[in-house]
């Protein structure tokens, strides 16, 4: 995994959080983890194929998921229902789309499967024995995690 790949996602997260939620996002210390696990209350998984293959997993705690949807809709939410989970899936989908566009500027052409939303289940996602990178992120409405596993399907340079 190259820094550029990770950065494409981080920049997209910052841009979309600002645009859709009026939130700044700070990055914490990156960690290598053995397993990609959906351990948060609301998890969104993006499958990437093409020149890069892998998965990106977003994990949000409940209070943050509800607050994000409150910011967008102006309506108070008290549970992670279909409206909340669909809205989170859409936000992550837009982030993924933005990241793929910027990766295409580095000549990595990728596609993305529709986001998969996993609510309140503790489930191991990674299929391969590969390690993934965990990016802890922080906003003024809470902390969330993004797990990135991307492998190059072709060699550039």
């Amino acid at each position: 995994m190259k820094v550029d790949h990770i950065n494409a996602f981080y920049v997209a997260i910052q841009e979309i959080f600002k645009l859709m939620l009026d939130l700044d996002v700070e990055k914490g210390e990156l960690r290598i983890v053995e397993d990609m696990v959906s351990s948060k209350d609301a998890n969104v998984l993006l499958g990437i194929t093409g020149d890069l293959k892998g998965s990106i997993l977003f994990g949000f705690p409940k209070h943050m998921a509800l607050e994000m949807v409150n910011i967008m809709s102006g309506v108070d939410m008290d549970e992670i229902d279909t409206f909340v989970s669909s809205a989170l899936g859409e936000v992550v989908n837009i982030i993924g789309g933005n990241a793929l566009t910027s990766l295409s500027n580095y000549d990595y052409i990728c596609n993305m499967a529709p986001p998969q939303i996993i609510v309140g289940k503790y489930k191991s996602i990674s299929m391969a024995s590969e390690r993934s990178l965990l990016i802890p992120l922080e906003t003024e409405i809470g902390k969330f995690d993004v797990n990135v596993f991307l492998a190059e399907a072709k060699n550039i340079n």
């Binding site: 645009l19 859709m20 009026d22 967008m72 809709s73 309506v75 409206f83 809205a87």
Partner: protein, 137 residues
């Protein structure tokens, strides 16, 4: 309140319509998410959805006409984005007419509509305003 001042593109006709569109979307979301039993509010949910859908068509036509008037260079691409979104909403409604207006599908549509409109007005439509200003400048 879903409308934000930064959504303004600086063209009164378009800004007023965007504000109205967010208002109708907000009404739809409030009905879908108010916690009342689904069968009791189904008619109201359908009404607010229809009210919103109707305005989308009206607004897209006006916004596209404005783009043509100022010779907006990305008009054709923008028109396709509008048509694509309208077709998507129509398809949701067509499916629900067939399979019934379930609470889950209405919530999914409300979420899709909300995120689409925030992104579209917050980003794509801003470029129309930028172009209009560059012509005046």
């Amino acid at each position: 309140m879903m409308w934000k001042e930064r959504y303004r593109i600086g063209v009164d006709l378009i800004d007023d319509q965007h504000r109205e569109l967010f208002k109708r979307l907000s009404n739809f979301i409030r009905v879908v998410q108010n916690g009342e039993p689904w069968d009791e509010k189904l008619d109201e949910a359908k009404d607010t959805l229809g009210f919103m859908q109707e305005y989308v068509v009206y607004h897209f036509e006006d916004e596209e006409r404005y783009q043509r008037e100022i010779g907006y260079p990305d008009y054709e691409e923008h028109r396709k984005i509008h048509a694509g979104f309208k077709a998507e909403v129509d398809e949701y409604v067509r499916l629900m007419e067939e399979e019934g207006f379930s609470e889950e599908t209405m919530q999914e549509l409300a979420a899709r509509f909300m995120t689409w409109l925030i992104m579209h007005v917050g980003r794509a439509d801003q470029r129309i305003g930028e172009y209009a200003r560059s012509k005046e400048g």
